[in-house]
């Protein structure tokens, strides 16, 4: 039986030739992402912004009356709500950011949620309450903080480990690749104003994990080749390493993609944001491992000596004793 080969043998793509333009584009993309986050802002869900969210299905309708809902909830006087389709056309999520006074008063915050649900139940006979979240400003602030700490701590520890296992240049390279992935993902969430919640933090973590896998596989091969081909110029050696691992990169990305695609197409609506984030990160992560993590090593000055153990005094004594010197 003839087996499927996605990447032909002996590929020799000159990835490094285009490293400067690709790098410039990536830096621009990172800058653009942060600019988007700064100007448009992230569409924080109730996890991070506080307030309340009501999710509902209009069981007898084809489509949820989004515009009507917006004006109806607004008329209740809790400020302007964010009404979004959520999964099917007849499912919506209604988010209201409560004022600080209301959110601080437990009874007022609960009353607000009750009032919205009651008003909509009275108005629409086919209104089915699928769930509601009510997060006080205090807790949402804690969520923001712990999520940020967790991300930063994980990234720092990862860089440290790679520095110890490889060389500092590799640690910096991996960290840069992760920074690139996280930035671009945040940029996308800002651009399309997708709801940014704790689930998305889980997605970003999955992206970091995946991108890291990719980076380490390439780095491991670079390390191996650095020991093997001591005279080869670095750009050429990096190209060789990336080409050698290309079959693996394509195959892994493809299998993960086919696993994610059904979740994206007909998985539960509540998972959509998270799966979309992971899928996006799959592409970004693969790209960054090949075009960021490897080329940056050229500028950081990795040499073929990086992985040759330095001779110690003990080694020299041993050599002398054996009459090798």
């Amino acid at each position: 039986m003839k087996l499927l080969k996605l990447v032909p043998d002996d590929t020799n793509i000159k990835f490094l030739k285009w490293r400067v333009p690709f790098f410039v584009v990536s830096i621009l993309l990172i800058a653009a992402s942060w600019a988007l986050v700064a100007t448009k802002g992230l569409n924080y869900g109730v996890d991070f912004a506080g307030g309340l969210e009501v999710r509902a299905t209009f069981t007898q309708s084809e489509e949820a009356p989004v515009t009507e809902l917006r004006s109806q909830v607004e008329a209740l006087g809790y400020g302007s709500p964010v009404v979004q389709r959520f999964g099917e056309d007849n499912q919506v999520s209604i988010r209201v950011r409560l004022s600080d006074e209301i959110s601080a008063d437990k009874e007022a915050a609960q009353e607000a949620a009750n009032e919205i649900v009651r008003a909509l139940q009275a108005e629409y006979s086919d209104f089915r309450l699928d769930g509601n979240d009510n997060v006080s400003g205090k807790v949402s602030g804690e969520f923001r903080q712990t999520a940020l700490y967790a991300l930063l701590a994980a990234m720092a520890a990862i860089a440290l480990y790679i520095w110890i296992r490889f060389e500092w240049q590799f640690g910096v390279g991996a960290l840069f690749a992760l920074f690139h992935d996280v930035s671009l993902t945040l940029g996308m969430f800002a651009l399309f104003q997708l709801e940014f919640s704790l689930q998305i933090i889980a997605a970003i973590l999955a992206i970091i994990g995946y991108s890291l896998n990719d980076t380490i596989v390439v780095y491991d091969r670079i390390r191996e080749n650095l020991k093997k081909f001591r005279k080869m110029p670095l750009p050429e050696l990096l190209d060789l390493s990336v080409n050698e691992t290309l079959a693996r990169t394509v195959m892994t990305s493809l299998t993960l993609f086919v696993a994610l695609l059904p979740l994206l197409l007909f998985g539960p609506a509540s998972l959509f944001g998270m799966v979309a984030g992971i899928t996006l990160g799959l592409f970004v992560g693969t790209y960054s491992s090949v075009y960021m993590a490897a080329p940056i090593l050229v500028w950081l000055g990795v040499t073929s000596d990086s992985f040759v153990p330095t001779e110690t005094v003990l080694d020299q004594q041993e050599k002398k004793a054996r009459g090798l010197v």
Partner: protein, 532 residues
């Protein structure tokens, strides 16, 4: 490298078998197959975001505990000094600035007063609860110690958790989870609860019940301005009362607290037919209630719940039977909730709902169904791709992947962890990592063959060289996972747990198990060439 002694094979199969076995009850629960009762029943809990239900995070106000404690101390000191023989006269009692101070009229009594207070200051003897200092020879100052306050908050939270548990048990819901979290928080999770309003109404009530005599000398105009006569205090009427918006002055001392209740039931007033709550006192409470009502026939007394006056009926005759009736314009539901709250005892501290999440059961079930279908289709596609690319080695990888999923479920069930939506992201990542490990190994074997190595050497080298990258990748992810668990909150933690367990199972299945199978095959079939 490809040597597998029998004892090692036995070990590997034993571990695999145990983990898969532990996964069976969870996998079977979705089908109609019954798991024999005699066997252990490890189950993966489904988080509320998947199973439907309510999650409520309650927070206590620690400063309330401190001020309550100060008030109790004031009462305690007044009592001690009054009961002393001869009586110790004190004045200028103040609880300002979080400490209690008072002046002894006779400075020579300082040592006696100190001795009287000693047991209260030292508390239960484990921690010193108060610091006592004397200023100007006759001003005694009691300052609560930090350890004492911590202890009091911790005690209050413990009994609050107990009260919450009793109240939720009264709802008759299935398997609620009630856990203390941090210093001042309680997490309540009730799977399958459709109406969280009922739950919140029950938990939002402190249920501190007091019976106090109405101060009939207070001028209504003063009361409305918030001015209480000496020895009295002012409480507002509850919103449900006929006098909502008004206030009432009651006598500070001589009342009864609802601490000594043995029962409370919702019922109806035989005359007005309005919902009321019947309560029963224990012997001590009944005796004091009888005394209060006997001494004050014809006078009104106020029924005060959580600092609000429910009603202030006249005492028509002494109530000696040890039971009483509370009325106050209740609905049937409110009267029922109050009865439950009174039966479970008062909360020692107010609890505020600071986070609430409810997922309807329909949505949860739908999420699981769609998630399962998507995972099944995704897995099928991955399997096709793996076998088409790597033939026999792809089959090994696929079997390893299936075992990996089962083992991960099994370990989660054995540790009784909870699978949540973000946990599913962890699952996807784990499956990705497992597939990646096999892809790495198989691609490496291909390479080694291309370089002209013989079959056995190529396979050996493939596993050896690929393992380095696999271990490095998994260790970095492990470090990340542990940090996420340490620093993260709820959902991030759910992700981290799955990730960390999954790293172990994926390395075990994708590297160790497949190597055992490949070695076994190479040994028996002795192939000259392999299709890869």
């Amino acid at each position: 490298m490809l040597d597998f002694p029998t004892w090692r094979k036995v070990w590997l199969w034993l571990i695999t078998g145990l983990c898969v076995f532990a996964a069976l009850p969870s996998l079977l629960s979705a089908t109609s197959v019954r798991w024999p009762d005699a066997l252990p029943q490890p189950m993966v809990n489904l988080g509320l975001d998947l199973a439907g239900g309510s999650h409520i995070l309650l927070e206590a106000d620690a400063s309330q505990v401190a001020s309550q404690r100060l008030e109790n101390m004031e009462e305690n000191v007044r009592g001690l000094m009054r009961r002393a023989e001869p009586r110790i006269r004190i004045g200028d009692v103040s609880t300002r600035g979080g400490r209690l101070s008072f002046i002894l009229d006779d400075p020579s009594q300082v040592d006696r007063a100190r001795e009287l207070m000693l047991p209260s200051i030292n508390g239960n003897g484990l921690v010193r609860e108060w610091d006592l200092t004397v200023e100007d020879g006759n001003r005694m100052i009691l300052t609560p110690t930090a350890e004492g306050i911590d202890q009091a908050v911790s005690d209050a939270m413990e009994s609050a958790t107990e009260v919450v548990r009793k109240r939720i048990d009264e709802l008759g819901t299935r398997e609620p989870t009630i856990i203390r979290q941090g210093d001042t928080r309680i997490v309540v999770q009730v799977p399958g609860l459709q109406d969280p309003e009922q739950l919140k109404a029950l938990l939002g009530q402190t249920a501190k019940l007091e019976f106090k005599l109405v101060d009939q000398n207070a001028l209504p105009s003063d009361v409305q301005q918030g001015l209480a006569p000496p020895g009295s205090e002012i409480f507002p009427y509850a919103e449900t009362s006929d006098f909502a918006g008004n206030s009432l002055a009651v006598r500070r001392l001589g009342g009864i607290r609802g601490d000594n209740l043995t029962g409370a039931q919702q019922s109806f007033d035989p005359q007005t037919n309005e919902p009321v709550v019947n309560i029963q006192f224990d012997t001590d409470g009944g005796r004091r209630f009888a005394k209060l009502t006997t001494d004050n026939v014809g006078k009104p007394f106020a029924i005060i719940l959580d600092g609000q006056v429910l009603s202030a009926p006249n005492i028509n005759e002494p109530i000696r039977g040890g039971s009483a009736q509370i009325s106050g314009g209740f609905t049937v539901e409110a009267a029922n909730a109050l009865a439950i709250s009174l039966r479970s005892g008062a909360l020692p501290v107010d609890l505020a709902v600071i986070e609430e999440r409810t997922v309807g059961p329909d949505l949860g079930a739908d999420s699981i169904k769609r998630g399962m279908l998507a995972m099944a289709v995704g897995s099928a596609l991955v399997i096709v791709l793996m076998i088409a690319s790597y033939g026999r080695f792809g089959v090994y990888a696929t079997v390893a992947l299936v075992i990996n999923v089962a083992m991960l479920l099994g370990i989660m069930a054995a540790l009784n962890t909870t699978l949540t939506l973000p946990g599913i992201a962890g699952f996807v990542l784990t499956i990705g990592a497992a597939v990646d490990a096999n892809v790495l190994i198989n691609e490496r074997i291909r390479e080694e063959r291309k370089r002209g190595r013989r079959v056995i050497a190529a396979v050996e080298n493939g596993y050896k060289e690929a393992s380095r990258a696999i271990y490095d990748a998994n260790i970095t992810n492990f470090i990340a996972g542990v940090l996420l668990f340490l620093f993260g909150s709820g959902p991030v933690r759910g992700f981290a747990v799955v990730l960390v367990i999954g790293l172990f199972t994926s390395v075990f299945t994708a590297v160790t198990l497949t190597r055992m199978w490949v070695a076994g095959w190479l040994r028996t079939a002795k192939p000259k060439d392999i299709t890869l």
